[in-house]
């Protein structure tokens, strides 16, 4: 399931709800991305994510479908925040349920890496002094782990 939302969310609660009632999955691997307060030694006061409604979700769905084709995993939950965020905010959650851990780790790793390069998302950093810069490759790709 892919969700793109402006609202903040509790990653732990989302993982618990995702795994609730599952008896077939022996593993859940999750990744939580958090907004950092510094990128390339520049201070960040606010990070704003621009996205293309519909187009962005479709691209993320495609990545999830690719992961499910490539690895033997069960359901995948991908939540991405958009809009303005502050350091410390959760920006993305990837959770992969699988029968076995190896497949879950690999699929989660693939998705987190693929998000960095293939997600139609545009990031704008605002420094504490109010100056702004759009993040584009080959500059640092992200303000998250």
């Amino acid at each position: 399931m892919v969700i793109v939302q402006a609202e903040s969310f509790d990653a732990g609660a989302k993982i618990n709800a995702f795994m609730q009632g599952r008896t077939d999955a022996g593993a859940c691997v999750s990744f939580t991305g958090v907004v950092r307060d510094e990128t390339q030694s520049a201070r960040v006061a606010e990070l704003a994510l621009d996205h293309y409604p519909g187009f962005t979700e479709a691209a993320l769905e495609k990545l999830v479908a690719r992961a499910r084709t490539q690895w033997s995993v069960g359901d995948i939950l991908l939540i991405h925040r958009v809009g303005p965020m502050r350091p410390g905010d959760t920006i993305v959650l990837v959770a992969v349920a699988a029968t076995h851990r190896d497949e879950a780790f690999e699929a989660a790793r693939f998705l987190v890496d693929a998000l960095k390069t293939d997600a139609p998302i545009w990031k704008k950093e605002t420094a504490p002094d109010g100056s702004v810069r759009w993040i584009e490759p080959p500059a640092e790709l992200s303000a998250q782990g």
Partner: protein, 84 residues
């Protein structure tokens, strides 16, 4: 009227995230649309026509600036993506 959408730094360059615009003619190409924008707003036209900017028509990426546009289309200008 076609709907134009600007994302990322292009929305800053345009000073707006979207606009509606009458295409210069029926079945014009993206290249012709870019020329129209350049004649009105040279700086924005140059930013949109940069080779790193991709164009999506009705949410599908176009393979080139030769893509044919029609009046009800949603035309999005996508700068290089930052990733999630």
């Amino acid at each position: 009227m076609a709907k134009l959408l600007f994302f990322g730094r292009l929305s800053d360059a345009a000073g707006r995230a979207s606009e509606t615009l009458a295409l210069p003619k029926d079945a014009c190409t993206a290249h012709e649309l870019l020329n129209l924008i350049k004649s009105r707003e040279p700086a924005l036209g140059a930013a949109l026509d940069h080779p790193s900017v991709r164009i999506a028509v009705n949410q599908r990426l176009a393979s080139s600036r030769d893509v044919t546009l029609s009046d009800a289309d949603e035309i999005a200008f996508l700068p290089p993506m930052s990733g999630g």
